[in-house]
């Protein structure tokens, strides 16, 4: 299934896109999605362990099961203020 993924900050800069679509197996979790990102964009691998995911503008755990069409945001450690 296809999952839409929004990228910010350093990830946006590394990948060069604000939004990408990743193909993951049905039943894939957020953890699986991070691994998929790393295999498609190896440049992101070093950053994957600290990435948190948000679905529907809410933080979700790594075992969260994704659904077709979910809008996922990959959230690097935040540094506002």
């Amino acid at each position: 299934m296809d999952v839409n993924v929004r990228l910010f900050a350093g990830l946006h800069q590394m990948v060069g896109k604000r939004e990408i679509t990743l193909d993951v197996p049905d039943g894939a979790t957020v953890r699986d999605l991070r691994e998929r990102l790393g295999s498609v964009y190896p440049v992101t691998e070093a950053f994957l362990p600290t990435l948190v995911c948000a679905v529907g503008e809410e933080y979700v755990p790594s075992d969260y099961v994704l659904r077709e069409g979910d809008m996922v945001a990959l959230i690097p450690p935040v540094s506002g203020g």
């Binding site: 929004r6 910010f8 900050a9 350093g10 946006h12 800069q13 600290t50 948190v52 948000a54 503008e57 809410e58 933080y59 979700v60 755990p61 945001a73 959230i75 690097p76 450690p77 935040v78 540094s79 506002g80 203020g81």
Partner: protein, 150 residues
């Protein structure tokens, strides 16, 4: 008033938005772009944000504030894009009946903003640039309050 904006931040409307006739104090926090960090000379800053979620999380911070302190108003503005040294990146205004609660609540709000609001800062310094990695937000990082926010 809760906004993510690329425009320069104006404290006047924010203070007006949080002040009530019951307010005896308004505390206004300015976060401003500083010219050094970690011994490096910082030339300018760039902020990125997940604007929709950031606005939602700022409202949740305000709910947390209202659940903990007897405040009469809370408002938060965060700027995005390029900021020159001295420009304001974050404004937090909190009003309450008396100054003590306003100071404490504003301090709490700023700390929570830095923990859960999806905004990112890039430092451009002499010889390079770096996206600053701050706090890893937790799954439970959502507002706990019940009151309406300004």
């Amino acid at each position: 008033m809760f906004e993510i904006t690329p425009e320069p931040l104006d404290p006047g409307p924010l203070v007006d938005a949080v002040r009530r006739d019951e307010s005896g104090a308004v505390v206004l926090f300015y976060g401003v772009a500083r010219n050094e960090n970690l011994g490096r000379k910082v030339l300018w800053l760039e902020y990125d944000a997940y604007a929709e979620m950031a606005t939602k999380k700022m409202r949740e911070v305000a709910e947390e504030v209202r659940a903990r302190f007897p405040v009469t108003g809370v408002g938060i503005l965060h700027r995005t894009g390029r900021l020159e040294i001295g420009e304001a990146s974050l404004l937090v205004a909190v009003s309450s009946g008396h100054r003590k609660e306003a100071f404490e609540a504003c301090h709490f709000a700023v700390d929570r903003i830095k923990q859960i609001v999806p905004v990112w800062k890039k430092e451009v310094f002499e010889g390079g640039e770096e996206w600053i990695e701050g706090h890893v937000p937790g799954v439970g990082d959502r507002g706990q309050g019940t009151g309406d926010s300004v």
